[in-house]
Symmetry: C2
Subunit: 458 residues, 2 copies
């Protein structure tokens, strides 16, 4: 019997995890694996780009978990700098183009994995294609930005966008000695936090030396005589800039899937079942930043681009493609980052999200320290907790604080997965010793306060 052929579109976390896992389970005599990647890199940590740009990580090579050659040595026919331009579902084949030669060809498949990732948002503003304006989605982007930082006449940077990438890039540029202004459209950076918690972050960013401008809708990128960026305009205000970084978020990279008629959700991500198989298509799987995932707290499908989900998807897809069995039950919406000394984390639903779901809830916000208050270096942290009215079910947690604060969000992530009530959480046996926690862990303090609020709300 001839080997089956698996085609993988996309050579980053989800795609190459799927390919690698499938290869571990089935040898080349049983399964041929062909993977297409349009860039020159595979299996890299896009999340690490800000730390490379900021100088914490010396080389882009450090971000690469596995090179194309390593994948090829493991028996994966990896076609680099080759873009899949068409997907013919009925004919079970993909058309690809070698980006160097322009040569095109069709490759047939028995099984297909779509791992086309996300696409950065880049609004069609005047001047946005000027030299000195950079996205930070790929390693090539990072390299171009680093060159641009060297070329900048003065050291004034404007970051457009207050999401994860925006605030991480603000820190990175500060690390490179730039004067940094962050422009965000909303009332605060990080709209994945509630405004009260976002304000705490804004304060911390400003204390770190980042100028934060809220309510700034960018209208134009202005250039100087050389054609290079000189400022960013937001309405009537102008912000001088020798370099501009765009961190406006991403959308699912599903043009190919959409053209092929595959099912997309409200956010434009592919819809799959829990085995990560595209709905209605027995031999097509999809994972990573091009799919929507089930939010276990709200029961709604969401688009959440995050490397850790992509890796899990890839593992599960690889198992299923190779005749194993795995499922991805969903997410609870956990995310974490830092800006200089300030850590930020969230999981579950914010007030805005809970409102959208028609949930009634109470909130409890507590200030505490990450270690015993008397322990040297004890850092302040704020925990905000949402619990459903009546049932007391945990709905979400947000944390802003000093070193050691943010990873505590994981306690809430597990509690959400287990659908615990805040009353149950007050009894959690969390690790205590003075260098690690106050005798009442801040998450427990928040849970206790939430319990009182649930009772009072009736």
């Amino acid at each position: 019997m001839a080997a089956e052929r698996l085609v993988v579109i996309g050579g980053d976390a989800a795609g190459m995890s799927a390919a690698s896992q499938a290869r571990r389970l089935k040898g080349p005599e049983e399964l041929e694996i062909v993977a297409f990647e349009r860039s020159g890199f595979t299996s890299y940590s896009a999340c690490g780009i800000p730390y490379w740009v900021g100088g914490d990580v010396p080389e882009h090579d450090d971000l690469i978990a596995r090179t194309p050659e390593e994948h090829q040595e493991r028996g994966i026919d990896l076609r680099m700098r080759t873009e899949v331009t068409e997907l013919d579902v009925a004919g079970r084949r993909v058309r690809s183009r070698d980006l160097a030669s322009g040569a095109e060809e069709w490759t047939s498949y028995d099984k297909l994995v779509i791992a086309t990732g996300a696409r950065p948002v880049r609004p069609a503003l005047p001047g946005i294609e000027s030299p000195g304006v950079h996205g930070v989605h790929t390693i090539d982007d990072g390299r171009a930005l680093l060159d641009s930082l060297e070329a900048a006449g003065r050291r004034r940077a404007v970051v457009v966008g207050g999401g994860y990438i925006g605030i991480e890039m603000a820190e990175a540029l500060l690390g490179r000695g730039f004067e940094v202004t962050l422009l965000t459209r909303g009332a605060q950076p990080m709209h994945s936090l509630d405004p009260d918690m976002g304000d705490r972050l804004t304060g911390a960013m400003e204390r770190s030396g980042i100028r934060v401008v809220t309510g700034a809708e960018v209208t134009e990128v202005l250039t100087g005589d050389s054609g290079r960026v000189r400022a960013v305009a937001a309405g009537s205000a102008e912000y001088a800039a020798d370099v501009v970084v765009l961190g406006l978020g991403v959308t699912p990279g599903t043009d190919l899937a959409r053209a092929a008629g595959l099912p997309l959700g409200a956010s434009g991500g592919l819809l799959t079942d829990t085995s990560m198989r595209v709905r209605g298509h027995a031999d097509i799987w999809a994972g990573g930043d091009c799919v929507e995932v089930l939010d276990l707290v709200s029961g709604r499908h969401r688009f959440i681009a995050l490397g850790t989900h992509a890796n899990k998807h890839g593992q599960i897809i690889g198992s299923n493609v190779a005749g194993g069995y795995g499922t991805f039950p969903g997410v609870v919406g956990t995310a974490v980052t830092k800006v200089c000394e300030t850590e930020v984390a969230r999981t579950g639903l914010t007030e805005r999200q809970a409102d959208e779901e028609g949930l009634q809830y109470v909130t409890a916000t507590v200030e505490s320290t990450n270690t015993a208050g008397y322990y040297p270096g004890a850092a302040l942290m704020t925990v905000k907790m949402l619990a459903e009215r009546r049932t007391g079910r945990l709905l979400g947690v947000q944390i802003v604080g000093g070193a050691g604060a943010a990873k505590r969000i994981d306690v809430a992530a597990v509690a959400l997965t287990a659908r615990m009530t805040v009353e149950q959480m007050t009894a959690l046996d969390l690790a205590y010793a003075p260098p690690f926690s106050p005798v009442w862990d801040p998450v427990l303090v928040a849970a206790r306060k939430a319990v009182s609020k649930v009772r009072a709300a009736g």
Copy 2:
């Protein structure tokens, strides 16, 4: 109607939390509260003593959450340096002695809280009462030890005992510039870890400059001409010592309860129901280091002396005494500490404990880093996981690693509470960003390995 009288025996975490919570719920016109404490301190962090002795915490005052005066101002009739010497259950009264004057009196109660804490183990070895030999159970102990460190002719310390206090004191003495030898009877320090994980800790302690001697059964404390300690003998070996610290663990301080005929468990701790009421006694509650707690993983009652449990007990008792309602469902056995740069944590059952329960299990041990491997300062960490054979239920986790490793144990603590399987754990939505975790959190990597082991074990 005359006020009811609540008597509290013991003025530390459990006792004073109970008194304070009861006072919050009921004013003096409804509830009179009398509390007896034999030392000169209330509500202090015994867990913080090593950090005060080591110099990280400047003053013992820093360890005191609430002073006697603060309690008294809140309407608690607190009798300091007054020891309860007899409990007359039938007569509903306690006999106390003022330690300064020797005066004795009986005080009747309507409701009683026993929070007599734990007692340090101090074997009756020759020489153990000599100057220069110190326990570290109370603030008075800590002060005596600090004086003794000043008085020591040379700077050689021997710590007897390899449990939490032993290893924390080894670090503290190193911090004071002492040459430190730690003697432990077992094959490794920290017998609350499995031997393979204990070995990792031993290695780390030795790299920090602590000499660890295992299999050392101390037989005598030897003194010099001045009468002060000069060495510790363990069989034929002698370890020169200018100061000796005993960290041999604690036993429940239940002499009073035992004499009064109250029910004690196998470890000598008081037995209570989940409302922390002493079994068979409607008006007597007990909490903190003098009770046994239900271990939710094994279903067995255990003696676990830990300030965080004592505080929870006190809160619950205070509510129940004052006509509210609260329960303490039990613990999963979480503990954490550090020695210099090395963090150690555990929760659930070790191999030895699982064997004792007749459980069959698999183990999975993984090495990872606490942050993305490429992130500056990424520290190594080892996670060991136990899962039940067939069911795959999580049974326990142990962690040894660098900064940021240990608090991850909380994920396992919540998963144990929720009785998750290791398969369920592989899908947990834990926080990921390069400064906080590899893209696969080490706990998830361990869970994945445990899943394979469960499958392979059949």
